[in-house]
């Protein structure tokens, strides 16, 4: 049987705490390595044991955490987070290994924060409870605040990290309010116990007015974290001030958690809003692709080239998610994994290049590094090809799926997005050529890869190659969960056509045939038809006016906000199946509308 997920989750943090408490610098380093490598081992075992045919979550842990608030400590793995967990453990192991080769001031604290960061990221990925997700999502930022603020360049780090934290926490705190609202509204709307578990929230479908503002709060949190175009202001400063091993995990993993959030939270729980805002999100993604690409081939800082390239790549991932169909979402998940695997070695290479270019990270100071370092050149070329999505790489498969999905959803956006693929080639090759070939830079000392560096870089590059050979691994294990996650939103955005296949439905209320061409639902797309009744399935969808003050739907009859009133649903007599009159307690005769006395009815003499 498998090890409980709690061990995977808490292993890095406990190693970090032990490392902080036990004296000795080497212990902290060794414990950090052990913690992250142990987590990697566990993650691999989960990937191997994962049953691709099973529905829903696997390896579930479910305990009550805070009874009063309905928050549970629920962890689980499905096809969406499986490979992101693997990615997290791979990148943290590589990053700790890389950091272990350098010397750090206040070293114990460095590894402490790395361990906490890993646990927080894993927690956000594993959490199957909305409150738990929010807890870890917010917590994730704090260790990076310290890692950047304590180890970045002294002159600029505090301003940069304050900007980073405030930007991202603004989103996160909005998400907190939205998450609480989701659970409270779901509980009051359906008269259930307050619960934050994803499985419960998916069943309780909120009125679409509430969904809209809640979706926007969540989207703000995720878009800042990614970052996407208008909300990326913290990115250049943050990237410039992070130590490279920290930046590798930050860029490789944290942005993916945000993308994952869309798939885990927004699409399944707020399907109406996801469909409603589909075009908006696609346009944001598209603009991010174009903006990121253009910035990436105009800036000369290697870190920022990778940073803006990440903006563009995450644009593709968002594009795939909001295509709202299987191909797009599958491509997005694959691409999230790919991009993490590519960007971490890329930052490592930036470190290697800077060391060979006299400490400068500007491509104008580099050039000709490949001269005496063919192995670095080859490894870099593989990473570069993967980044520009060369046919044959897993990134190509990912982008292909994404564009296929968008092609089905919104043709025009797909056509423009294609230019992003071409631009990726431009900025990646520019980075490669300007650093490795070209004129030899003024302070460049071309030296070959050392064994210690190879220990970090080669396994990462091998992972890229392996994935290029067998991307089906990610696709097949994820398929089932991804389809389930996007199904509600897909059915709204692109409803299956049952009405045409069925004979004309008669509305039992009016006796008139139901018009199959219903007017489009204001929340986007047409209202899906329930095949049994021929009525619109979601009769409340988008029809209820919203109180501008409270954000609550207003019940047309009362003018007050919809509240859950258990007495309003008439109880049903278990024997006759008739509704019971609340005053008399007797079943109501549907013919007369009067309460009937069942005993009297039985006493009617039979002729």
């Amino acid at each position: 049987m498998n090890v409980p997920l709690s061990i995977l989750l808490w292993l890095p943090a406990s190693a970090a705490v032990l490392g902080l408490l036990i004296p000795g610098r080497a212990t902290a380093r060794m414990l950090a390595l052990l913690g992250s490598a142990g987590a990697l081992g566990l993650a691999v075992s989960y990937v191997l044991d994962f049953d691709r045919g099973a529905d829903g979550l696997q390896f579930v842990t479910d305990e009550t955490w805070i009874r009063t608030l309905g928050i549970s400590y629920k962890l689980g793995i499905d096809g969406i987070n499986l490979f992101l967990i693997l990615l997290t453990t791979i990148l943290f192991t590589a990053s700790v290994l890389w950091a272990a080769g350098q010397s750090w001031e206040r070293e114990k604290l460095f590894y402490f924060h790395m361990g906490i960061a890993q646990t927080a990221v894993l927690g956000a990925l594993l959490a199957q409870d909305l409150a738990l997700f929010v807890v870890f999502f917010d917590l994730m930022l704090i260790p990076f605040f310290f890692l950047t603020g304590m180890y970045g360049p002294a002159a600029t780090r505090i301003a940069a990290v304050t900007k980073l934290v405030i930007y991202t926490l603004v989103g996160s705190l909005l998400m907190l309010a939205a998450a609480i609202a989701t659970a409270v509204l779901a509980a009051s709307q359906n008269g259930t116990e307050l619960s934050f578990a994803f499985s419960d929230l998916q069943l309780a479908r909120l009125a679409s007015g509430s969904q809209d503002w809640i979706f926007l709060c969540f989207a703000a949190a995720f878009l800042v974290k990614m970052p996407m175009f208008p909300l990326h202001g913290w990115m250049p400063d943050g990237y410039r001030n992070m130590p490279l091993p920290v930046l590798a995990v930050f860029s490789g993993v944290l942005s993916k958690v945000a993308a994952y959030g869309f798939l885990r939270v927004c699409l399944p729980i707020f399907p109406d809003a996801s469909a409603h805002f589909q075009t908006l999100m696609l346009i944001i993604a598209l603009v991010s692709i174009l903006y990121g690409s253009v910035m990436a081939f105009t800036t000369t800082q290697t870190r920022l080239i990778l940073g803006y390239s990440s903006v563009a790549q995450l644009g593709f991932i968002t594009l795939g998610i909001f295509a709202l169909n299987e191909q797009g979402a599958q491509g997005a998940v694959l691409q999230a994994f790919n991009h993490g695997l590519v960007v971490a070695p890329a930052f490592f290479l930036v470190g290697l290049l800077a060391a060979r270019a006299g400490g400068s990270e500007d491509i104008r100071e580099m050039g000709g590094i490949a001269r005496k370092a063919p192995v670095i050149a080859v490894l870099f070329l593989i990473v570069a090809f993967a980044n520009l999505a060369m046919p044959g790489s897993a990134n190509f498969v990912g982008e292909f799926y994404i564009l296929l999905g968008v092609f089905d959803a919104k043709l025009a956006i797909a056509v423009i997005a294609f230019t992003g693929v071409a631009m990726a080639a431009v900025y990646t090759l520019r980075l490669f050529i300007r650093t490795m070939h070209n004129r030899v830079g003024p302070h460049v000392q071309s030296t070959e890869l050392t064994l210690a560096d190879a220990l970090v870089l080669v396994p990462l590059v091998l992972a890229i190659v392996a994935l290029a050979l067998y991307p089906q691994l990610v696709l097949s294990k994820g398929e089932k969960s991804i389809t389930a996650a996007i199904a509600p939103a897909r059915d709204i955005a692109d409803p299956p056509p049952p009405a045409a296949a069925l004979p004309v439905q008669i509305d039992p209320a009016t006796g008139q045939p139901v018009d199959p061409n219903l007017p489009p639902n204001p929340s986007g797309g047409a209202v899906p038809i329930d095949p049994n009744t021929g009525l619109p399935a979601d009769s409340t969808g988008g029809q209820i006016p919203i109180d501008p003050n409270t954000g609550q739907p207003i019940e047309p009859a009362t003018g007050g906000t919809v509240t859950d009133d258990p007495s309003s649903a008439a109880p049903v007599d278990p024997q006759t199946g008739l509704p019971i009159d609340p005053q008399t307690g007797l079943p109501i005769d549907p013919a007369t509308g009067q309460p009937t006395d069942p005993s009297a009815a039985q006493e009617v003499p039979t002729p």
Binding site: L69, R157, V170
Partner: protein, 518 residues
């Protein structure tokens, strides 16, 4: 005419009153012992006795934990809300005694008076938390406030301390007078001083448009807002907090706030619950203003005490949101937040007091620069406190805000929940500044100076070199009890964030004080 019969002596429940009696007896004994000639008796005996009186009161409160009954013929009532709040007052009192044990203020005034005033003030809070009658409310409020006016001015050789005491006296008296006027008008409108009588008059007659009643409610809100430093009646707070001796500031920040919110909950959610339509929107607006004003005000402060003063204004706004929603969930969320707020602030003030004794910077933010290297324990305590105040997960502050926001959404005040969130965003600006000062500034020079113990200190960019040199010039390390208060509070903050259920179970008891809430 027959002479009127001598009324029966009121039925006094001494068991129920025992926590209050312990405090008052303690105050008398402490005052007496403070007159002894022996220096040791005054400097150490008096704080010890004060601490024992508080511990006795705490024990007696726990003994009465599940009691709900009227005391003194219905003028006071011991119930869940009173008991839980009493735990908070006494806890804050014990921490304050420890923090002022070897502080300047009792030495400059007089040990006996200082601690006797402190105990009397706590007794006043207890009366306030128990009171179910307009007369006892006012009695408790004055018993709490008057000793505090004096306590603020106990560092008698520092002008700002005297100024603080005087300011607090003037503003506090104004607040009390307005409040008293409001109480009188409510009595005039309802014909009863008893909370249940007011509630009955309120629900039977139509008082929602009664001018007397409305004016009374309005004046009560204003008076209580003065006490709880709710904007726009908060202007005294930064000056008084900054000027008062820091242990007294800590006490005022946490205990007075808890007492004021105790009255808010009782008066508005019990006596005036049926006219909530008139006052809830007003309080909601005040809460929103307070959150914004407090957080924005804190941004520019370089004095930690001033910053915490503005932060306490903002926190008052958060807690007011729990009163506005008029639900039992809101009551519990407010009391939960009060408990968390208490430990968060005590932890921060403990560190400030420690640094005031260790450095020459007083309560300026420079006092904590580079603390992560020089005093990692203090820095950790302060970091946890700041993160909790900002509402970061894994701290009690997060759970507290979570609870408050869920209460606002549940009570159809979702927009107020969003305002709380916006306030938290603004607050990051100043809380992070403190954390950055501790961990990210001033560190390099200290490391080199400890690593290379011999040899000249390397020249620095930034020029805080001389200050640092002065600072290192061996002021004694802070006393253990100050650090202990900080560490205990930090542990409690994390405990409340990771295993909050016991605290939830505790505040669950508050519900029995409210009979007509949802």
């Amino acid at each position: 005419m027959t002479p009127r019969a001598v009324p029966d002596t009121p039925d006094i429940d001494f068991a129920g009153l025992s926590p209050l009696l312990a405090l008052l007896a303690g105050a008398v004994i402490v005052l007496m012992v403070g007159l002894l000639r022996s220096r040791a008796a005054r400097e150490h005996g008096v704080p010890f006795l004060a601490f024992s009186a508080l511990a006795t009161s705490l024990g007696l409160t726990i003994w009465q934990l599940d009691t709900t009954k009227p005391l003194i013929a219905g003028a006071l009532q011991i119930d869940g809300l009173g008991t839980v709040l009493n735990l908070l007052f006494v806890g804050a009192g014990m921490a304050t005694v420890l923090l002022s044990w070897r502080a300047l203020a009792p030495r400059e005034s007089a040990h006996g008076e200082f601690y006797a005033l402190l105990l009397t003030s706590i007794a006043g809070m207890l009366v306030l938390a128990w009171s179910t009658n307009l007369v006892t409310v006012f009695l408790g409020l004055e018993l709490l406030s008057i000793p505090l006016y004096v306590l603020c001015a106990t560092e008698m050789r520092r002008a700002s301390s005297l100024e603080s005491g005087l300011k607090y006296l003037i503003v506090g008296s104004l607040g009390s007078a307005v409040f008293l006027y409001g109480l009188a008008l409510i009595y005039g409108a309802t014909g009863s001083t008893d909370f249940s009588g007011i509630a009955a008059a309120n629900s039977s007659g139509d008082l929602s448009s009664d001018v007397l009643m409305l004016t009374g409610i309005g004046l009560c809100v204003v008076g209580l807002c003065f006490k709880a430093s709710v904007a726009p009646f908060h202007q005294w707070t930064p000056d008084v907090y900054q000027g008062a001796p820091t242990p007294v500031t800590a006490f005022m920040a946490v205990a007075t706030k808890a007492a004021a919110f105790g009255v808010f909950l009782r008066l508005f959610d019990v006596a005036l619950i049926d006219s909530s339509l008139t006052w809830a929107p007003m309080l909601a607006a005040l809460a929103a203003i307070t959150i914004i004003v407090g957080n924005v005000g804190a941004l520019g402060q370089s004095s930690l005490k001033r910053m915490l003063a503005y932060s306490s204004v903002a926190q008052a706004g958060y807690m007011l949101a729990g009163v506005v929603v008029t639900s039992e969930l809101g009551v519990r969320a407010t009391v939960f937040y009060l408990a968390v707020y208490l430990v968060m602030n005590l932890a921060a003030f403990a560190v400030i007091i420690a640094r005031e004794r260790e450095t020459i910077h007083g309560d300026d933010i420079a006092a904590v620069e580079g603390l992560g290297v020089s005093r990692p324990v203090l820095a950790t305590v302060m970091t946890i406190s700041m993160l909790a105040l900002a509402g970061i997960p894994a701290t009690g502050g997060f759970i507290g805000k979570f609870f408050l926001i869920s209460a606002t959404v549940d009570g159809n005040y979702a927009w107020l929940g969003v305002v709380i969130v916006i306030g938290s965003m603004i607050s990051l600006g100043y809380y992070l500044k403190v954390i950055a000062a501790m961990w990210m500034r001033g560190a390099p020079d200290r490391t080199t100076s400890t690593a290379v113990s011999a040899g000249p200190r390397p020249a620095l960019a930034g020029g805080s070199d001389e200050a640092a040199a002065l600072e290192d010039a061996e002021l004694p390390k802070a006393h253990w009890e100050v650090v202990a208060v900080g560490v205990v509070c930090a542990v409690l903050i994390v405990a409340a964030g990771v295993v909050p259920q016991p605290l939830f179970d505790l505040v669950q008891r508050c519900g029995d004080a409210f009979t007509n809430l949802v």
